[in-house]
Every structure is written in structure tokens, then in C-alpha cells.
């Protein structure tokens, strides 16, 4: 018998998560400046982990398997898990333990993802399971991304229920976000399929650390992707992410080649990835390999998790990065995590009028008409309706 979630449970309590090996179900804002609200439908707490066979792996001798979901290609012994901690080899068969087991569900503005050229002013039913396939030392959601499924209480929410939740909450989009949706790829795919049956779109908010075959399969059901390009040097990925740069760049190229609406976020961390030359090289690569129409968001870093000895990104640094991007031909460069900053707005690249004026996650003004500048008629790339 399902029961509505009481209001007292609707806030994230780190203490409760860390106590007794099981946390409260999470229905709280993730990240600064919350504009989230809980969905309406009743949700049931999961009594166990899911045991759904994974879709991207190969069997090896001696009951081992090789995961083919992300570039790590973990080779996993019987009874062991991959790097992500949410997939387990049981007797030579690989299972996802988080299918239909979200730990976080909110209704967020789409601008919070951030996606600025995708249905502006609308909301997205946003969800996450636990787990991640990297370990960023600056992770803002480490309490859910860097844990294993048994360490957090989850909801039991089938893909059909998620699609219904989106419909009930008036969200035209489901966003797979907060942690790393690559690690719950099967669930994301199934939710997206159920969403499409109901006219609801799906967007993936990801680090892009995924193998080509898995990404191609997801492309068939997704409508937009935001990729966190964490830096433009392998050194940064090695030291601060425990990942690789090249597969992320390959994912970006794949997405653009498949005409997937794609936006990039670049979290600027003082002294780590904020060198002018690095920004310039990255912007040149984006223009030459992806084209000038892929929006790039330079967002402000705040000390988090294991990287707490650095200050928040100076506004001047963010402005510098945006200037470089515009100089290098990127037509839509934004500043993020600085509410009220002019760099949040969308400007017509032809006549330079403000097309969409933003303040945080709010749309103050929208001068787009059928995807075109209302002043000069310039076609603006994006998904507007």
C-alpha cells in the first residue's frame, strides 16, 4: 500500500544519510539556489535493490565480466562491483542494482540543468539514482553520487511511474541528472521510452564518460544532452576527476553528429582549469569540431567535497572566459551560478538584442518568436517548442 511522503521527509538530511546506513528519501534541492519542488504522486520506498540484467557488458571465462558501458571497461569478478558501485556480477551475469530505484526526484526549472536553448521557462521532472563513474574532487552531490545503493534508501519507481509523475507535475521533460545518469543507463532508456509514449521528452545531464554504443542507443530516445566538460587537459581529468578527457570529447562529437541538441558546461576552478590558453584551445576545438552553435556555460565553482581549499571563482575569471569564447566564435556563451549577471542572458548573435533575459532560474523576458529573433528574424538554434 503506497503512502504519500510526509512533509517531514521532504528535506535532505546529511546526518540522517550518514546515520545507521540508511538515509531519508531525498526530496531536497541539489545545488545552490533551489527552485525545486516535489512531485505530486505517491511514491513507495524500495525494500530492496533492483536486480535487472545490465545491457552493456560481455561475459568472460571464470564467471568474470567486462562492462562495456563506460570507457573504464571494468573487468569484474563474481560477487564484485564495477567502479560505479551500482552494477554487480552475480555468477557471471551483470546486473544493475539501481533500475527503478531513484533516490532523488524533484521538479526543477530546465534552466537549472542548465539547458538554456531547450524549452525555456518549462520544468523538468528531475531524477537520480546513486552512483557515478568518476570521482570529481569537487562534486557537489557526493552524498548521493559517491555511495552505493544499499547506503541510501530509495524509491521504487518504475519507468511508467516516472513518466506519469512527469505528466502529473506538468513537466514536459524528464531530466536524468544530479549524479551520473550513465550509471543508470538502462533505467534512463526505459523511462525515456515511457515518456515518449506520453509526449514527454528526455534530457541527460552527464559527464559524457560513456562508450559509443551505449550513447548511440540512448540517442534514439533522448531529446537533449548537457555535457560537463570538466577541463581541456588530461592532467585535470587524471588528478581531479579520475577519468579521461578524450572519451568525453568523442561523446560530444557523436552527439553533434547525431543532431542531438547539446550544451556544454565548464565549471571554472581557480588555478585548476581557468588558464586563458586552455579556455581558448577548448573554444577553438568546440567551434571546429562541434560548430559555433553549441552553447557553452562557464559556471562558478564553490568549494565542495574534497576540494575545499580554493575560493569561489572570481566573477572576472568567468567574464574573461566568456569573452574568449565569443572571440573564438562561439555564438552562445553564458555565465552560470551568478544570478543577475548579464552573461546569463541569451543575445541575438546577429543584432545583439536580448532574446531571453534571465535571473537565476527565472525567465524575465523572452523575445524569441518561433525560434527566431523578434527584431531581426535571425534563426536561433535550440529546441523552442
Amino acid at each position: 500500500m503506497s503512502k504519500p511522503l510526509p512533509p517531514a521527509e521532504a528535506s535532505w538530511s546529511r546526518r540522517r544519510f550518514l546515520a545507521a546506513g540508511a538515509s531519508a528519501c531525498v526530496l531536497a534541492a541539489v545545488g545552490p539556489g533551489s527552485a525545486s519542488r516535489p512531485p505530486f504522486l505517491e511514491l513507495r520506498r524500495a525494500k530492496d535493490l533492483s536486480v535487472v540484467e545490465a545491457r552493456f557488458y560481455e561475459k568472460l571465462p571464470n564467471r568474470k565480466i567486462r562492462c562495456k558501458l563506460c570507457p573504464r571497461e571494468c573487468v569484474i569478478d563474481d560477487q564484485e562491483r564495477g567502479y560505479c558501485g551500482v552494477r554487480e556480477n552475480r555468477g557471471g551475469t551483470y546486473y544493475t542494482l539501481v533500475h527503478s530505484r531513484p533516490v532523488s526526484i524533484h521538479v526543477d526549472p530546465i534552466e537549472k540543468k542548465p539547458l538554456f536553448h531547450f524549452l525555456p521557462g518549462t520544468e523538468a521532472l528531475s531524477l537520480a539514482t546513486v552512483g557515478c563513474n568518476v570521482e570529481c574532487k569537487f562534486c557537489q552531490n557526493w552524498q548521493i553520487s559517491q555511495v552505493r545503493p544499499e547506503q541510501m534508501e530509495a524509491y521504487e519507481a518504475s519507468p511508467a511511474l516516472i513518466a506519469e509523475l512527469a505528466r502529473e507535475s506538468g513537466s514536459p521533460t524528464i531530466a536524468y541528472t544530479y549524479t551520473e545518469p550513465v550509471v543508470f543507463a538502462e533505467y534512463m532508456y526505459d523511462c525515456a521510452v515511457e515518456g515518449r509514449k506520453r509526449g514527454i521528452r528526455s534530457v541527460m545531464i552527464s559527464n559524457g564518460y560513456i562508450q559509443r554504443e551505449a550513447m548511440l542507443e540512448l540517442c534514439s530516445v533522448l531529446d537533449a544532452v548537457k555535457i560537463d566538460l570538466k577541463a581541456f587537459t588530461q592532467r585535470f581529468y587524471t588528478e581531479l576527476v579520475a577519468g579521461e578527457l578524450k572519451p568525453v570529447l568523442d561523446t560530444l562529437k557523436l552527439l553533434v553528429s547525431r543532431r542531438m541538441w547539446t550544451e556544454i558546461v565548464y565549471l571554472m576552478i581557480p588555478t585548476k582549469n581557468d588558464a586563458k590558453q586552455e579556455i581558448r584551445e577548448m573554444c577553438r576545438w568546440i567551434v571546429s569540431e562541434l560548430g559555433p552553435d553549441v552553447p557553452v556555460h562557464f559556471t562558478r565553482f564553490y568549494p565542495q567535497y574534497r576540494l575545499r581549499n580554493l575560493p569561489p571563482t572570481p566573477l572576472a575569471t568567468l567574464r574573461m572566459a566568456r569573452e574568449i569564447a565569443l572571440e573564438e566564435g562561439i555564438r552562445f556563451a553564458y555565465i552560470g551560478n551568478v544570478p543577475g549577471e548579464e552573461g546569463e542572458n541569451t543575445y541575438c548573435p546577429h543584432c545583439h538584442v536580448v532574446l531571453i533575459r534571465r535571473a537565476g532560474y527565472s525567465i524575465l523576458e523572452n523575445n524569441l518568436r518561433a525560434g527566431r529573433c523578434s527584431k531581426c528574424g535571425e534563426k536561433i538554434p535550440g529546441v523552442w517548442s
Binding site: 550518514l18 569478478d77 564484485e80 579520475a242
Partner: protein, 330 residues
């Protein structure tokens, strides 16, 4: 980073737990298994510990007594236990139960340890046998008991993790409440076996079962992550004794049980230096691999270099050099 800077990194920021583990302040320095400036690893072997494929419980206890007495150079092992623990101590026994009944810490050994702790004045209610998950313990044939009278048997999923994040070297982890909050003394009871990713899993690796995210730290054969985990103050400072279960060991295909690679070594290894014990255990596995025609772990691409890292100037968790280790027979 020099050692001073490295150690400073253990205790910076409000999110870190300081160097002092929670628990009772120990009145005396812990007893060490050392002789002539060398770390002692004691080995007691007796094939008759197995009868008709089953362990003979009394024999397991005898092996334990021999190994413990030899490690510390005492005639009476009961005296050693009285030196290792004090009445009122809360004791955590960290087992390795990930591989079911055949390749986990043997339960008769755990009962023998509990019996000797009780003989040293420890209340049964102050003993907890612990591993990663309740289910792991169950699969290995342990009685899961989270509360009530007598020793508790439970996983981290029951007891939870201490709320401070430990950031040490390359790792950032939450640590089991058993180690940080609930116990004053830890006894590390690993199994002697091969590991398909990090080479071998012995004492140092067994503490991956104390953190919330071991899946993040298997890259590069666990080097330096396994060494870093063992620097966590609660683990390093509270561990009084290591008893490696080598009654049945495995030289290939681990950590899961692979009967074709398991052999009855019929031994217990005892030490207080986890690096020395791991180094000796590693050599035992290499010797067995050679006997059965397997390549060395280095040739197999998984040399357990984390054991050497644990002995380096940044970690100083023990010694990984046979010139500094004395192996004694119990």
C-alpha cells in the same frame, strides 16, 4: 608532497575527522610483535586441523594459541590477550566474508578469537564481528545478530558510517561506525588469497570493507589507495592484532572461490605489522603459483605494489623487506 605535508593533509578542513579516533584513551602503548628491531610474522601450521573436509574446532584454537604465543614470544597465549585488550574495551573483529562459505574467514576461527577475548576479560556484549554487509556475513554462514546479548555480527549496512569524511592521500571515504565510534580495539582477520585486480587481498586490503566506496579504489592495482585507507586514524591506531586465516588459501581467480586454485595451507599467520604480514602472505601465494605453473603476479599484470607503498616514507605502516621481517614458526 613530503611526509609532513602529507600528514597535515589528514586533518584540514571542517569536514575531516581529526587524528584522534573516538573511543577510550589507551593507558599503555599497544603490544607489538617485534624482535631485534624486526617485525615478527608468526606462522602456525597443522594439516590435522582438517578432518573429512571439515575444520576441527579444537585444533583451530590450538593453532591460534601457537601463532599468538610465537608472535609475541610468550609461553602463555592468554597473557598476550591480556596485554592486547583491557577489561571494558569494545572490540571489533573485521572478517572477510565476500566469497561465501569456502573462501571467507572461517567461523571456527572467529569463535576461537571471541573465546580468547572473553578469557582476557572482554564482555561478550562488547564484541562485534563485522564486514561490509549483513548479506555477506550470512552467505559465509555467520549468524547475523545486530543487537541483544552476546557478540554482535553485522555489516556496515546495519551500523552505518561515521558522518565525517576522511580524506587521506588519494582517498575520500566514510568509515564504518564500528571502527570510528563503536570500538576501541580492532582485530583484523583476513583470508590468504589472490585478487584478480589488486594481486592479493590480505590485511591491508581487508580494510576496504571498512569504507563506503571501495569500488572507487581498485585502479592501478589499488596503489596507493589501499595504503591510504590504512592511514585512516581509526583503523591504524585501533588495530591491535592481525590474524590471517590461511587454513584454506587461494592462489588464482580470487576473490571469489575457485576450487581449482584453492589449497589447504592449514595455517594461521599472526602479526601486528600489516605490511609485513601482507608481504609474507604475498610470497606464500607466489610460491604456490610457481608450484602449480602460474606466472608471477607481476607477469600477470597485477603485482600488489600497494604493499610496498604502505611501507614507504609517506605511509610507514610497516615493513616490506624480508631483511626486516622475522618469520617464526608457532
Amino acid at each position: 608532497m613530503d611526509r609532513r605535508a602529507f600528514l597535515r593533509s589528514l586533518a584540514v578542513g571542517p569536514f575531516l575527522v581529526g587524528l584522534s579516533p573516538k573511543g577510550r584513551v589507551q593507558a599503555r602503548p599497544p603490544l607489538r610483535a617485534e624482535r631485534g628491531g624486526k617485525s615478527v610474522v608468526a606462522q602456525a601450521r597443522d594439516p590435522s586441523v582438517w578432518r573429512d573436509g571439515q575444520l576441527v574446532e579444537g585444533k583451530v584454537g590450538e593453532l591460534l594459541d601457537r601463532a599468538v604465543a610465537a608472535a609475541f614470544g610468550y609461553r602463555d597465549p592468554a597473557e598476550v590477550w591480556k596485554q592486547l585488550v583491557a577489561r571494558g574495551d569494545r572490540v571489533g573483529i573485521k572478517v572477510n566474508c565476500l566469497s561465501g562459505r569456502r573462501m571467507s574467514t572461517n567461523l571456527p576461527l572467529v569463535w576461537a578469537i571471541i573465546e580468547r577475548l572473553r578469557g582476557a576479560g572482554i564482555s561478550a556484549n562488547d564484541i562485534v564481528v563485522w564486514d561490509r554487509l549483513d548479506a555477506d556475513l550470512e552467505k559465509a554462514g555467520y549468524p547475523v545478530r545486530r543487537r541483544g546479548q552476546g557478540p554482535r555480527f553485522c555489516g556496515n549496512d546495519s551500523v552505518g558510517y561515521y558522518e565525517g569524511l576522511f580524506a587521506v592521500g588519494e582517498i575520500g571515504s566514510l568509515v564504518s561506525n564500528v571502527a570510528v565510534r563503536d570500538c576501541d580495539v580492532l582485530i583484523n582477520v583476513p583470508v590468504l588469497k589472490d585478487h584478480g585486480i589488486v594481486g592479493v587481498t590480505l590485511a591491508l586490503k581487508n580494510y576496504f570493507g571498512a569504507i563506503h566506496n571501495p569500488n572507487k579504489y581498485h585502479a592501478r592495482c589499488g596503489d596507493p589507495y589501499i595504503a591510504d585507507v590504512n592511514l585512516i586514524p581509526a583503523l591504524r591506531q585501533k588495530t591491535r592484532l592481525i590474524i590471517c586465516d590461511a587454513l584454506e588459501a587461494q592462489c588464482e581467480g580470487g576473490p571469489p572461490f575457485m576450487p581449482q586454485w584453492a589449497w589447504r595451507y592449514s595455517a594461521l599467520l599472526v602479526a601486528t605489522d600489516p605490511v609485513a604480514l601482507d608481504y609474507v602472505g604475498w610470497q606464500i601465494i607466489e610460491t604456490r603459483r610457481k608450484e602449480v605453473g602460474l606466472p608471477t603476479l607481476r607477469e600477470a599484470g597485477r603485482e600488489p605494489t600497494y604493499i610496498l607503498t604502505a611501507a614507504d616514507a609517506q605511509h610507514r605502516l610497516g615493513v616490506a623487506d624480508m631483511a626486516k621481517i622475522e618469520v617464526v614458526e608457532g
